[in-house]
Point group: C2
Chain length 179, copies 2
């Protein structure tokens, strides 16, 4: 009678310390620098807030900005951007202080949508102002009667603020898609 022989079947491989035969555990979202609740994420938010605020301040202190629709729109857009970035920066500071993770799909979705909207508005406002500033300074050469330098500074700051929002948006969107 044959005894139970050792069967030449390899044991299931152990990868990363867990057994592949076990049902796959829910993978937690990865901790990528630049995402909400990380120091880089906080730095991005502060950049967005500071540049949006500078843009707002520079544009709002020119005497003739209410005469041009695009300049009024820039003030509104960077105002919204600075409020949004400040709120998220404060949430990030809180999360870093109490060491709590913000990698929650519902939160990330909200952040991605909010970032998408505010960044689109800021970029649109910056482009509209850039178009008008270039029209005044290069095409019409009327910088002597306009605050060209201030318009340019405000536009440039709005663009920098948009540059700082884009990585936040892409990080959130990417982690939402890849979870």
């Amino acid at each position: 009678m044959s005894r139970p022989a050792v069967h030449p079947v390899e044991p299931p491989p152990f990868i990363d310390g867990r057994n592949d035969a076990a049902p796959p555990r829910r993978v937690r979202m990865k901790d990528v620098q630049g995402m909400p609740g990380t120091p880089t994420g906080l730095a991005l938010r502060l950049c967005q807030f500071i540049f949006a605020l500078i843009s707002l301040a520079v544009m709002a202190t020119t005497s003739d900005f209410p005469d041009v629709t695009a300049f009024r729109y820039l003030v509104a857009a960077v105002g919204l951007q600075s409020l949004w970035s400040l709120s998220l920066a404060m949430i990030d500071i809180h999360a870093l202080c109490v060491k709590r993770s913000l990698r929650n799909p519902a939160l990330i979705t909200t952040y991605a949508i909010g970032d998408g909207i505010t960044s689109t508005l800021t970029f649109a406002a910056a482009c509209a102002c850039a178009g008008i500033t270039v029209l005044i300074s290069n095409d019409l050469n009327k910088c002597d009667v306009n605050h060209c330098k201030r318009f340019m500074s405000a536009t440039a700051m709005a663009f920098i603020s948009w540059f700082a929002v884009s990585p936040s948006f892409f990080f959130n969107f990417w982690s939402l898609a890849s979870r």
Copy 2:
């Protein structure tokens, strides 16, 4: 002498008709309508191309567009957009005719980057033209000496073209992140 016995090890389960013990085959990207190589994707490309071409034609037929930097930029941006969308539409038509899949990570990356660049350029140009058109028509009331209607039509067509590029970009970016 013992004969080779049937060992009481369960056969590896067959899921979806393939053997899990076999080395995992490269998972194919999902077939989502709107992605390259699908009829909806082709419809989006054709929309982008047609609206970009109309915008280009309307703006290029105004006599004074070369005087304004933003209008020259719009012509360049929608020109690039129409070339890009036409090329991808032709690739889509070819893929649909020969029933070949375009869901290849390298190709999707190229599409996502190209869509991101062309849509940003088109949107920036449309916003700059919108700023100037609103300045001429609402703020300065000088529509009697300018082609306001044509500028507005060209701007609106550029915005519609951008609206049609955005889903293509998001589909590609999403499928890139979620593969």
